[in-house]
């Protein structure tokens, strides 16, 4: 009987102390600086190895380095790459005329980049990709490359 009462009181007092400890912790936290980054106004630096969707690389003359070997198209587990091209006269290699990435099914696995033996693919650092239209995610990589070249200073 006596020990019952003692454990009952002990539970109440112990419980109260742990509740007060909790409240003290939350109060202390409220004096620290918020860790939130107010995103559209401020952004974090991207990590070095960030992997966005894929992007074509250009050679010194500004041509896409892609030689239309189709390795990436075959490597892609989600079948979201379409490449086509031809061999112009006087060029030692084929030139891509179509390079479409269907980003709606891309799983960002990176197998395409790994399979390219001509160093023609890379990961972009783009992540602001929200859109209301599905068509925006079927990306023409050659078009993007062209635009990138124009934008370059």
């Amino acid at each position: 009987m006596k020990s019952d009462l003692r454990s009952y009181l002990k539970e109440i007092i112990g419980g109260s102390i742990s509740l007060l400890t909790g409240m003290w912790i939350t109060l202390r936290q409220s004096f620290r600086k918020p860790v939130t980054v107010s995103y559209p106004y401020r952004t974090l630096k991207l990590p070095e190895r960030f992997r966005g969707h894929i992007e074509l690389k250009a050679d010194e003359q500004g041509w896409a380095k892609c030689v239309v070997c189709m390795a990436c198209q075959k490597a892609c587990p989600s079948f979201c790459i379409k490449v086509n091209g031809y061999k112009p006269a006087g060029m030692p290699r084929k030139v891509a005329t179509i390079y479409i990435l269907d980003f709606t099914t891309c799983s960002l696995c990176g197998l395409c980049v790994e399979s390219c033996r001509f160093d023609a693919l890379m990961f972009s650092r783009e992540y602001n990709l929200a859109s209301f239209r599905k068509e925006d995610y079927v990306m023409d990589m050659l078009e993007r490359l062209r635009r990138r070249r124009i934008c370059r200073p």
Partner: protein, 332 residues
């Protein structure tokens, strides 16, 4: 004087308008505090976009709620369903009428003010229960049953504490109770060790019961989102839900006001200087802050834990306090 009653009526009407404004203002800005305070606790920023520092957020919320359609789902008891949100707000505002804000402010003093406040508070429970029951929804019905179980369980320790307090003060008049606590914080009821050495404990019990009576987390079993979607308010849309929302915050304000009046000396300064409305408001908002603080520190209890806490801990402690008070009052 023929103009006396006229002037009295006008005065009461003005007070009523003012109090409704006060209630709405508090509901709006406590809901903002309810979002800012956890943000501070969790190292976030809370609402920042609407107006400077997010100060217009409640306005945006209000407009959003007003713009929504009031839906009444099939199978609901339409009359009760529509009455419930109104019936939940009115008693909360009626409680405000009885509160003495300062020496000269207060809409109506009645000699049984304390009793009246708790009678109105009971209507609130009934209205929430009606809302849950009339919704014709299983979650709402469970919540309706819970609100009754919870409020009965917590009304007992609450009233026991208040009975003990009334034994000390010899009055139910809220203004008189505050007047007795003049002079400094050592005269406040919370530190009135001459009446009962357990007074601070009584205040703690009052505070816990107030949380439960106002259905505030960690005792918000009525609106337990994780189990009951939104409990009794599941089927309400637009301003129907908005009224429940307002009532919750007005109840917090009423509970905190009564706490300040009964235990913390109402409008009196802790050091006996410059009594007035500002001290009442400071105490009121400190208590409101504490209510939100508790909410964002502790997880929701289970309904069993809730009832156990009341029947096994709070009621015995409140009874002990009552007996100790009775003995000291008799001896001194």
């Amino acid at each position: 004087m023929p103009h006396d009653w006229l002037w009295e009526t006008v005065r009461l009407l003005l007070y009523l308008v003012g109090l409704i404004g006060f209630a709405a203002f508090n509901a709006a800005y406590l809901s903002l505090l309810e979002r800012k305070e956890p943000a501070w606790f969790q190292l976030r920023r809370g609402p920042t976009e609407a107006g400077p520092l997010g100060l217009l957020q409640p306005v945006a919320d209000g407009i959003k709620l007003l713009g929504k359609q009031l839906l009444v789902q099939g199978g609901a008891d339409v009359l009760l369903f529509k009455i419930a949100p109104v019936a939940v707000v009115i008693p909360s505002i009626m409680c405000l009428v009885l509160i003495p804000f300062s020496e000269t402010m207060g809409a109506r003093d009645i000699s049984l003010g304390l009793l009246a406040v708790y009678s109105f508070a009971a209507i609130n429970v009934l209205a929430t229960m009606l809302g849950g029951w009339a919704s014709h929804n299983k979650y709402s019905s469970i919540a309706a049953a819970r609100v009754v179980a919870q409020n009965i369980a917590y009304e007992i320790p609450l009233l026991l504490v208040i009975i003990a307090l009334v034994m000390v003060t010899h009055t139910f008049d809220l203004r008189e109770i505050v007047a007795q606590q003049a002079g400094g914080f050592w005269n406040w009821n919370v530190l009135r060790f001459g009446a009962s050495p357990l007074m601070p404990l009584a205040f703690l019990i009052y505070f816990i019961c107030m949380l439960a009576e106002a259905n505030r987390a960690p005792f918000d079993m009525v609106e337990a989102e994780s189990e009951l979607i939104a409990g009794a308010f599941t089927e309400y849309s637009g301003m129907g839900f908005g009224l429940f929302f307002i009532a919750e915050y007005v109840n917090v304000v009423v509970g905190s006001s009564i706490g300040a009046v009964l235990f913390l000396g109402g409008w009196h300064c802790p050091f006996g200087l410059l009594p007035g409305l500002h001290w009442f408001l400071i105490k009121l908002y400190l208590l409101c802050f504490a209510v939100i603080w508790v909410r964002w520190t502790f997880p929701r209890t289970q309904i069993y834990g809730l009832l156990n806490l009341s029947w096994k801990v709070l009621i015995p402690l409140a009874l002990a306090h009552l007996i100790v008070t009775a003995v000291t009052v008799k001896l001194v």
